[in-house]
Amino acid sequence: MRATKGVLLTCDAAVKQILLAMNEKQFFIIDDLDDNHLLIKADMEYMVRRELEVELEKNTYSLE
């Protein structure tokens, strides 16, 4: 029986795939739990959020 410390991320399937791709460059995923949940290292959470926001902003367009 093992207990692993970490941060549980709940998201939709699309965001999870983006995070898996991000993991190739900077390793932060400890375990892939299911379609909507990931376990990542506790201290990397802020960096993950920031990178995700940058990634999602690439898909938005504005008129100005």
Partner: protein, 482 residues
Amino acid sequence: MPAPTEPDDPLLTPAQPHTLIAFLVKEPKTTLSRLYQRPSSCLSIFRLVSPLERQLIMNLLWLEAPVPLSTMAAWVVRQYKKVYDEALHSLSRLNILHILQDKQPLNPTQDEVAPTEDKLALNPTFKTSLRQAITGGGTNGSFGVPAEKDEKRDIEALDGYALERWETILHYMVSSGTGQQPASPSPGVLALLKGSGLMMAPQQGHNLRITSKGFQFLLYPPHAQLWQLLIQYLEKSTARHMDIVDVLAFLFMLSTMELGREYSIENLSKTQTAMLTDLRDYGLIWQRKSSSRRFSPTRLATTLTSSSPPLPTATSVSSGPKDGFIVLETNYRIYAYTDNPLQTAVLNLFVSLKYRFPNLVVGSITRESVKKALNNGISADQIISYLMTHAHPQMRKNNPLLPVTVQDQIRLWELEKNRLKSEDGFLYNDFTSLADYELVLNYAKDLGVVLWENAAKRAFFATIDGHASIKTFIETRKRALI
């Protein structure tokens, strides 16, 4: 057959009690009794409680003897009994209502006692003072002593003064985020803003930055804003060794004064004289100079406990009633018919302003502007309710008031921010058997700390708080097995 309760009945859902009531119930009963010695305080509190409670007080006001509970309860229709009980409960917490228990032995030789008959009575101090307030008796000057040399103050000048003071405070809060330096209010006000969490100083110095609570505060109606600041002031006053009864009594006295008359400061206690400077800074009273022996209340003070608007709103544009000035179109464009810099600054928080004319401000709600507001701590609901409260009367012919597309899009932009949710904790896996897994899982579920589980993988995730208890549970089990 009992009548079915209708869930949408407005009488069954009580209105929000005034924030001051929540503050008063935390005070000890002796303080409240001392407060009720002044008729003006009783009258003001009477105005603040809900209509049902007011009716209960009026019913009991002119009775000399206490009334049995069952008599009062006979007046109540069964459907609304819950509302009646809540009203009784809230009045007794304010120490206005006393429930007296009356035991009388049936027969002195027998040990049986008659069933206790609970009776209702008003707090005697409250009763005397409220009667004095209504019938105009008593000479203790609790409604303010008018000054002898009574020059009628110009009401417009008073309104202008109050508006200018109040807007300086709000303007200071709004512009602190955008880097402009408007006139700053007095240090006492700044201390109050910092203490109530509406602004904070990231580094030592005079630059206060607005917090997300401060942004929400800006979108509230003026009454709510005023009372929030005053309650903060009340809480600070105990730390400054000011008698809270004096402070409250002075505020209630102000709320019953007449706009435009001057009052002398002779009857005020030391605490209340000290309060004069603070109240001048918030725009509640006006004094010719700080050593003047007279003062006069502004509209902000006289409408403290009433529901009329506390500030004269901008009258330069006479189209429509004074508080609706925003037109929102389905193409996300906003037209705000105002020249008030404060309202423009508040709009700038979540609208990208494009053009400014003498009587009109044009802008549009864009993804950037809403995201900026969301990052500052304003929620989508607050933006939507601000737009609804200040909608121009021309918008009233739309049903619903605001275009559904714009409302939904603002909410979607808020949801975009919440795509990823995170929780700290521990993952438990590698259980030797399914029975083991289920045992620990059920224990964790009883504690209520399970965030995720998967029986196929024999793993579950629990919060940090649960970890210590789960660890002890497993260890006791291991020792038991050996």
